[in-house]
């Protein structure tokens, strides 16, 4: 699953730590999601979308391999 979190976070001028604090997770979690090493749970995906003021489907999109799986 690919995402636009880094892009949106940087446009808001937040560090990974600041976004992590707003979403009640650790900076490592945000870093892993941004680098596509970890797909968040639905709960966190919605929280991220709310904090970044976008819809979930704007934030995440399946990569080419992922859509076939």
């Amino acid at each position: 699953m690919e995402n636009k979190i880094r892009e949106l976070r940087e446009s808001m001028g937040w560090s990974q730590g600041e976004l992590a604090e707003r979403c009640h997770v650790t900076r490592q979690t945000i870093n892993a999601i941004e680098n596509n090493k970890y797909d968040p749970t639905l709960q966190l995906a919605f929280r991220l979308a709310k904090v970044l003021k976008v819809k979930v489907d704007e934030l995440f999109h399946a990569d080419k391999g992922g859509i076939d799986k």
Binding site: V25, T26, Q28, T29, A32, Y38, P40, T41, L44
Partner: protein, 134 residues
């Protein structure tokens, strides 16, 4: 736990590991016996130290259970639990093979039972958990 406290706890754990390790070695060379309590204690200390390095907290030495687990932390625990289960199965098999390879029949029945339990436990738990979703 602050960074200073974390460093202090890690240092204390290292001292405990070295001290207990030295005591086990000393006892072994003096009386050719292995202190089982010492082995148990050292495994708790090593597990705690590894947890502290990984998550910055430990569940063995009275960690704060109320503290909510981070999502990535939960994921790491889930993935490593699965790997650990199969690693443990292989370790038990190796110990069984090493201790019993000279014997025609297996004499260490408890270890054989443990090995059989490692084979059955996962499918059994999967069966029970799947009931929840039916």
């Amino acid at each position: 736990m602050t960074n200073k406290q974390l460093r202090l706890v890690k240092l204390i754990l290292w001292i405990c590991i070295v001290a207990v390790g030295a005591k086990i070695t000393f006892t072994y060379f003096n009386s050719q016996t292995i202190e089982s309590y010492g082995l148990f204690a050292i495994s708790i200390f090593i597990a705690s130290l590894l947890e502290l390095h990984t998550f910055g907290k430990t569940s063995y030495l009275g960690g704060n259970n109320r503290e909510q687990q981070d999502e990535l932390e939960e994921h790491i625990v889930k993935v490593s639990s699965k790997i650990s289960y199969f690693a443990l199965m292989v370790i038990v098999l190796i110990i069984l093979a090493v201790t019993e390879f000279r014997n025609e029949d297996i004499t260490n029945i408890p270890l054989m039972l443990v090995f059989c339990a490692t084979i059955v436990t996962l499918p059994f738990v999967q069966f029970l958990v799947s009931k929840k979703y039916k």
